[in-house]
Symmetry: none
Subunit: 218 residues, 4 copies
Amino acid sequence: MPNDHGVAHSRRRKEARPTEILQAALHEFTAKGFAATRLDDIARRARISKGTIYLYFASKEELFKALLRQPVAHHIEHMTILLETFPGSMEDFLQGPFRSFQQAVFASEARHLIRLFIAEAQTFPDLTEFYFREVIEPGLAMLHRIVERGIASGEFRPTALNTFSQAFVAPMLIGLLWQALFDQYHPLDTDKLIDAYIDLVLYGLKGTQTCLDKENCR
Amino acid sequence: MPNDHGVAHSRRRKEARPTEILQAALHEFTAKGFAATRLDDIARRARISKGTIYLYFASKEELFKALLRQPVAHHIEHMTILLETFPGSMEDFLQGPFRSFQQAVFASEARHLIRLFIAEAQTFPDLTEFYFREVIEPGLAMLHRIVERGIASGEFRPTALNTFSQAFVAPMLIGLLWQALFDQYHPLDTDKLIDAYIDLVLYGLKGTQTCLDKENCR
Amino acid sequence: MPNDHGVAHSRRRKEARPTEILQAALHEFTAKGFAATRLDDIARRARISKGTIYLYFASKEELFKALLRQPVAHHIEHMTILLETFPGSMEDFLQGPFRSFQQAVFASEARHLIRLFIAEAQTFPDLTEFYFREVIEPGLAMLHRIVERGIASGEFRPTALNTFSQAFVAPMLIGLLWQALFDQYHPLDTDKLIDAYIDLVLYGLKGTQTCLDKENCR
Amino acid sequence: MPNDHGVAHSRRRKEARPTEILQAALHEFTAKGFAATRLDDIARRARISKGTIYLYFASKEELFKALLRQPVAHHIEHMTILLETFPGSMEDFLQGPFRSFQQAVFASEARHLIRLFIAEAQTFPDLTEFYFREVIEPGLAMLHRIVERGIASGEFRPTALNTFSQAFVAPMLIGLLWQALFDQYHPLDTDKLIDAYIDLVLYGLKGTQTCLDKENCR
DNA sequence: AATGAATGAGTTTTCATTCAT
DNA sequence: TATGAATGAAAACTCATTCAT
């Protein structure tokens, strides 16, 4: 019965549509930015007609926001939960889950989205607020918690890094932007960059431990 | 003598036009991005007519490129020359001229332009190449040179930072982006961020070897 | 059944669009020339929106070229084929098919297009080449062939007209231009003009043959 | 006294200005047509500033009309006067002054202006009327007069050419247009074209009268 | 008289959005 | 649901014309 098949097929596709559209949108917005991307291009890439997009997203802007709202927050959430129950040292956490998190970001589509967000944030103030509330604030809180726990346990010494948790993700940001902009001119090994940076930070944080005389070492 | 005034006024204005236009363009492009900025807006801000822009810039794109090509390279150049003749230690250089350089970037218009470049680089590949050749490559070379000189003189130990000079400017980038995007939600003291980071880097570079005795350490 | 009607209507219209647009374009371009014609006017005349034109033609220039490329060549082609198989005398051909051809040009839209081409040829060099290759060269070749056949059969005497086949169509050109420019001041009977001219040419071509005494004839 | 010189020089130039502008305008309008020609181009070619044009011509349109009104009429006038007092046969007139006139048109700037007029006539109805009254009508009258005189003296037979004097200048028109449009693809010897045509016309006009036996000479 | 910087109306072109099918 | 032809608002860009010098 072709009808049955047709319906089933249609339903299956129907459910997949938003995702298909978002994937196409990711590709196009990433390549050209919001304004320079045409819905036609997204539709063509998703192999649907332009009108169909409007069945699932109210406007180009909403599609863009939906794309950017999707996929970053859960990384942070996951890390935060992991941290709460993490039994080991904070050095182990940074060398383990935190490093993995950064590698995961580089491996995922999120890598494009972060850059896209930076590019378009001015144009979409509500996106900026969304990111701050959903990603930045919880992310910084988590980083702060790591340092706090490290200090509380005597693993870390107190440093300015406690106030500037942003610095923890600085090399990830550098890496993302470099990859997108300059890799063609001069490739960058982002894994090693992250490793080097974690070492640097840990070195700075642990500081006095490697020092013979704790009292005298700052 | 109205004639005198008129001539003087007109001449002064004529020569100032490109600069006036570029200033207005900086403001508008910065606020809305390339595509969303209308030449009408730039013209209105510069208090001239739309057509006048075309007397000085061939197109919206050329105006944008002219804006971005202007003002970053000379900062780097200045630093590079300074470094060559710098008599002191590399720690002094980082704490002195290098810190000043970063503060200068934050104080200047360049702060907006860097973010604008990141946002629009995808759309203007020739700008990307320009930045790589004129800013990134010489900048990295200079940073590399600092570490090399420090190692050669026994001031620094060899670390991965030697390979990843990008990491030196990571917090400046974080600071620029934070200022533009999130300062309204949570202000960031960029001066202190830079200080903290230079400390971190120096600590990592100089290593534990140098610290036995607080008075002697730093 | 409104649906049926609707579909039929829409389909019919869609296929007809390019033709409708070209007709409107013919009218407007003919009346005002290329530069002075606004796409708005063409759209209004075709009862569509400005944007629709761009669904079928890439630009104003392409629309103009499409208009001029259309409809002249086939006249020539038809004549050329006719000539190859024409059984009668060349006088009969000139008095018959060739005269009809000229009358057909006067009756058709081509009459406007030729003038339009003359007006705009400077601006569109590729159109000029197109006309030369597709219309002028084959047209002259055909005229040349007529004279040749006439001479070969002894019907015509050799004259300079053999080298200047252009002269055959001179009155048609005069007629077209007169009609467009001066008919309001002084109407011209183009049919009779053509007749008179064909007589003149035939008289010249047949020339001495019809004269009994060669020495006395001219 | 530099003032004197200056004034003299200025006056001399001042008087020459309109002509200089018209020459530049001829060149530019001829090359690109009315609409596509920019006053800037004309000014540059005349080595003056754009504003200066407006000291001598009220608008682009007036400049164009002034250009086209100039220089054709006097050719006709001259011919007409010549004809009135011409002592020889009309054949001599056609072979002499009339042929010279056509050659003069080809050699002069008028050659461009005629084509320019054809191209733009639609856009400037008053120009069309001007041409009809000043050029076409007197020109046709003169041609008509030639034929009449020839018939009156028994030199010519009555033919349809009497009614269609336009045909006399047909090859000149063909030649002008060919030169402008197709000479690059296939050069045309306009002198010989005119010669051939005058022969053809004379042959037709003198016709059967020079033939001994009317019945056999068509 | 001459200049040429400045203007802004006018035109082409693009593309998000709609809607009849 | 899905389509894609049609729309028309919006924006870049041009250039005749003006006018202060």
